[in-house]
């Protein structure tokens, strides 16, 4: 039994022929297993979708009620058998509802981890280690220059800046699903109690998080505020709106961006960011390498990101490793094109 007999990489995404399903397919398929709700992993138009309840809810909020032919929710830790292949979902710690998918047949277990992080996040279930034979890992931050450090420390930096420039508005660019809510939760954890303003594109998902019992405090919409109201405040918005004409409604805005990419100065400068905040929902280099070791897997498949460096590192550790060239998974921040941009929110 070779791992490739269970799961192979195809132009559509990871495919399990025996079980008749794809994982995070980039184009419509009969049966899709979805790791999490980010648009590069969760697409509309599949025949049947199996995912956590939260991921299904998020897809429904983003794509409308008819986003798939049929849906089935699966709880963390629950096992289903699809044509003799056992599948189970486990927390990935990436965003609300995100899961690693374990696929097992004939005593061989492969874990497709989707996107994951091992850092603390008050808005989703913590990453759970699933021992396996083959571990499929992302490599978004697969270079040793990426160490995300303490997210709360970055929030302190933001709050010091808000105190120093009380007449300016701080606009924090953050991916609208997951990152934005985590940033808000961290701001609250730092003791900041004033309203945190939202771009219109953030509203739906943020309200969903709040319904799921995640306390983000008072989060009014920018749309309902005057320019003067916004002095000395914090606003969460999609990264793409930071350079948009939308910013003109803010008094002398400070452009902030919460992302793991902010670790590299050239990236921050390219985007015209004035206050980079190194906060990521992906595992950093130390997180990737520690997780790979801890799974006990002897074979590592590396997808989307800096595959070369991580494959090289695996080899130095005596692990078999190869890159999986799956196209279509991107940097979610780059693809966070704001649907609501047109409404001037």
């Amino acid at each position: 039994m070779r791992p490739e007999d269970i799961l192979i990489s195809t132009p559509l995404g990871l495919c399990c022929k025996r079980g008749g399903f794809h994982i995070d397919p980039v184009r419509p398929v009969e049966q899709a297993l979805i790791t999490h709700g980010h648009s590069d992993h969760a697409r509309a138009g599949h025949g049947a979708v199996l995912a956590t309840q939260e991921t299904l809810d998020i897809m429904r909020l983003r794509y409308g009620a008819n986003f798939a032919g049929s849906t089935q929710a699966i709880a963390y830790g629950e096992t289903l058998t699809l044509d003799g292949v056992q599948v189970s979902f486990h927390p990935a710690g990436h965003v609300l509802g995100s899961a690693q998918i374990a696929v097992e047949a004939d005593g061989l277990r492969i874990v497709a981890s989707g996107d994951y992080k091992d850092a603390r996040d008050p808005t989703c279930a913590p990453f759970e280690l699933v021992p396996c034979d083959v571990f499929i890992t992302e490599a978004t931050f697969g270079l040793p220059v990426f160490r995300h450090g303490d997210a709360q420390g970055e929030i302190d930096k933001l709050l010091r800046s808000v105190a120093l420039f009380p007449e300016r508005a701080h606009m924090v660019g953050a991916y609208s699903l997951g990152k934005a809510q985590r940033v808000m939760a961290l701001i609250r954890a730092a003791g900041y109690e004033r309203p945190i303003y939202l771009h219109g594109a953030m509203e739906t998902i943020t309200r969903y998080y709040q319904q799921r019992g995640i306390d983000l405090g008072e989060t009014p919409l920018v749309r309902d505020a005057t320019k003067a109201d916004l002095a000395g405040t914090i606003t969460l918005c999609p990264p793409s709106s930071l350079q948009d004409r939308w910013t003109r409604r803010f008094p002398d805005p400070v452009s902030c961006f919460a992302s793991g990419w902010m670790r590299v100065r050239a990236r921050a400068r390219q985007r015209g960011v004035e206050l980079p905040l190194v906060i990521s929902d992906h595992a950093d280099w130390d997180g990737l390498t520690a997780t790979i070791k801890a799974t006990g897997a002897s074979e590592i498949w590396v997808t989307h990101g800096q595959e070369d460096a991580l494959v090289h590192w695996c080899t130095t550790q005596g692990l078999r490793a190869r890159p999986l060239d799956i196209v279509g998974y991107g940097d979610e921040e780059e693809t966070d094109v704001v649907a609501a941009q047109g409404d001037g929110a």
Binding site: L164, Q243, T247, R263, Q270, G272, Q306
Partner: protein
């Protein structure tokens, strides 16, 4: 060190001058001595460490990381010392529990031998986080590059009390890190530090640009005029210490000590006083253009070859002090007589007097400005960028007093060029396409970029251009948009500039000096914009000695000073 690292980090990203000031004064206010004093030293470029060379640090990282991973990381990050700061491997269990302060770094580095340096640097790198390591590496290798001039850092220190930067410049040469007495004085806790420096900087007197309407009210007989030389304004100060040692310094217009870059000039300042003048390059008695001077400016290391090829010269305008006597309250004509006498005694070919332009009425001066070569500037006309008009009875007043000194610059060169690319600005302009690349036509009927400009237009015009860019984008590259630019469609700018030089870095082969958008030509189709040939003619003219600006084919020359 962590707070200082955070400060440097913010400064590096913050584009606004006033915001940079706020960040620095906040830091100075909330950081105890001596830490803030060493920070001020770092920001003003006063620190230097002899042994901390980039290759020492490179060797350190090579011993600690996988070369393949380092190579991949370096390629990704694009900067070696940033890569080292980011990927420096730290074992949390072995992390030293004391984070070094700038004071530690400065005092230890000053006493450490070359051999002990690598191990000490490694201990500090182990103790710091990414931003801290980045700041440490910048600090020890001596290149902060966070967009802060020494002047701005002093301004921030002065803002803790109400001390103007000029007041700080006056005592600065006598001060040393960690500047305890300076902060005590600024914060009102101590006396003004006594400077026993025999060659201090005195704040310079600056002029106003003259407007057409000003002349009617001015009587030509009350004024002198001299050429406005196109070099760098400097102050040459010299004096003798109590121990008999002679001290000579060359200061920039803002009071930065630039003696180190011009030892050939500093060594001939054999007087006791302060001369205001222009730094120029002279070859065989001829003043060279600013293009030539630029090749000597901003060089870090001054080699004998550089000095021989670009000999520095001081053309004297004014005398502020002589043998301890403050001449600044005397009328200009009296100061000038004293200056003439001083230069005669000095008798060095490295320093000469800026000649006066003879004129009896404004018409004569207008003619002289239009053709300096025939009005006394002769072969040096190339290095004249206009005339200075000074009241005969004007005292030397620091700052920019009204009604005493006027500058009357030559008309700029003007061409009509076509907007090709627009880039988003930064800070307040980050949502506007406000940086423009423009081009002119080649013989082959192609547009070739000749320059970039990001000012000269009004706020209302910026909105119009922004709207045009957004509506006429043909492609995008990150923050840059390519804008439609063919024979019939596009936006024509009237571009004004001060000079032109040959450049191998630009496809067009020329680079403009101080270009700005002087007018929007919505009325003009791109096909009628200027051709590269026009720029080449201007260049030849500049190289042969600058006469009146040639008529550009498409653009009418604007006469801003008709008399």
């Amino acid at each position: 060190m962590n707070r200082f690292a955070e400060l440097l980090d913010r400064l590096a990203y913050e584009p606004g001058r006033n915001n940079k000031l706020r960040l620095m004064s906040d830091y100075f206010r909330n950081t105890p001595a001596p830490e803030r004093g060493y920070a001020l030293a770092a920001l003003t470029g006063t620190l230097s460490f002899q042994h901390a060379k980039p290759n020492v640090i490179r060797t350190l990282i090579e011993q600690r990381t996988d070369p393949v991973l380092f190579g991949l990381s370096r390629d990704y990050v694009g900067d070696t010392s940033e890569t080292i700061a980011l990927m420096w491997p730290v074992d949390p269990a072995k992390r030293p529990n004391a984070i070094p302060s700038i004071t530690d770094v400065v005092t230890i580095l000053n006493t450490l031998g070359k051999l002990e340096l690598p191990a000490q640097l490694a201990r500090w790198l182990d103790a710091l986080d990414e931003t801290g390591r980045w700041a440490l590496l910048k600090l020890v290798t001596g290149a902060l590059r966070v967009g802060v001039s020494a002047r701005l850092a002093k301004t921030a220190a002065g803002s803790l009390g109400d001390k103007a930067p000029d007041e700080i410049e006056l005592i600065w040469p006598g001060l040393a890190p960690p500047y305890l007495e300076l902060f005590a004085w600024v914060e009102g806790r101590g006396e003004r530090p006594q400077t026993d420096d025999p060659a201090p900087f005195r704040p310079a007197m600056l002029s106003h640009a003259i407007e057409e309407t000003d002349f009617a009210a001015l009587d030509a007989r009350e004024f002198c005029a001299e050429w406005k030389w196109d070099g760098t304004r400097v102050q040459a100060a010299a004096g003798t210490r109590p121990d008999g040692r002679h001290v000579a310094r060359l200061y920039s217009r803002t009071g930065e000590d630039i003696s180190g870059s011009f030892p050939d000039l500093a060594e001939v300042l054999g007087f006791d006083g302060a001369i205001d003048g222009e730094l120029l390059i002279l070859r065989e008695g001829r003043v060279q253009s600013f293009n030539v001077l630029q090749q000597r400016l901003n060089r870090k290391t001054v080699t004998p070859k550089l000095i021989a090829e670009f000999p520095a010269h001081l053309r004297a305008y004014d005398l502020l002090f002589e043998n301890g006597e403050d001449l600044r309250t005397l009328p200009f004509t009296e100061r000038r007589t004293r200056l003439e006498a001083l230069l005669k005694r000095l008798d060095t070919p490295r320093i000469d007097l800026s000649p006066l332009i003879p004129f009896a009425d404004w018409e004569t001066l207008t003619a002289a400005r239009a053709d300096p070569a025939s009005a006394g500037a002769g072969a040096d006309a190339e290095a004249v960028e206009g005339v200075m008009i000074k009241r005969r009875d004007a005292p030397y007043v620091p700052g920019r007093p009204k009604g005493l000194w006027w500058k009357w610059k030559r008309d700029p060169f003007i061409v009509d060029a076509v907007l090709m690319y627009a880039q988003r600005g930064s800070g307040k302009r980050s949502s506007y396409y406000s940086d423009y690349t423009f081009g002119v036509w080649t013989d082959g009927g192609e547009l070739v970029p000749v320059g970039k400009a990001y000012f000269g237009f009004t706020d209302a015009e910026l909105l119009e251009i922004d709207r045009f860019v957004r509506k006429h984008t043909v492609s995008r590259f990150g923050p840059v948009r390519e804008v439609v630019h063919d024979q019939g469609q596009g936006l024509v700018f009237e571009v004004a500039f001060e000079g032109l030089q040959r450049s191998t870095r630009h496809k067009s082969g020329v680079a403009m000096r101080f270009p700005r958008i002087s007018r929007l030509r919505w009325d003009k189709p791109p096909r009628d914009a200027d051709r590269l040939e026009t720029l080449e003619k201007i260049l030849v003219k500049i190289e042969q000695g600058r006469g009146p600006a040639p008529e550009a084919t498409g653009a009418e020359k604007r006469d801003r000073m008709p008399l």
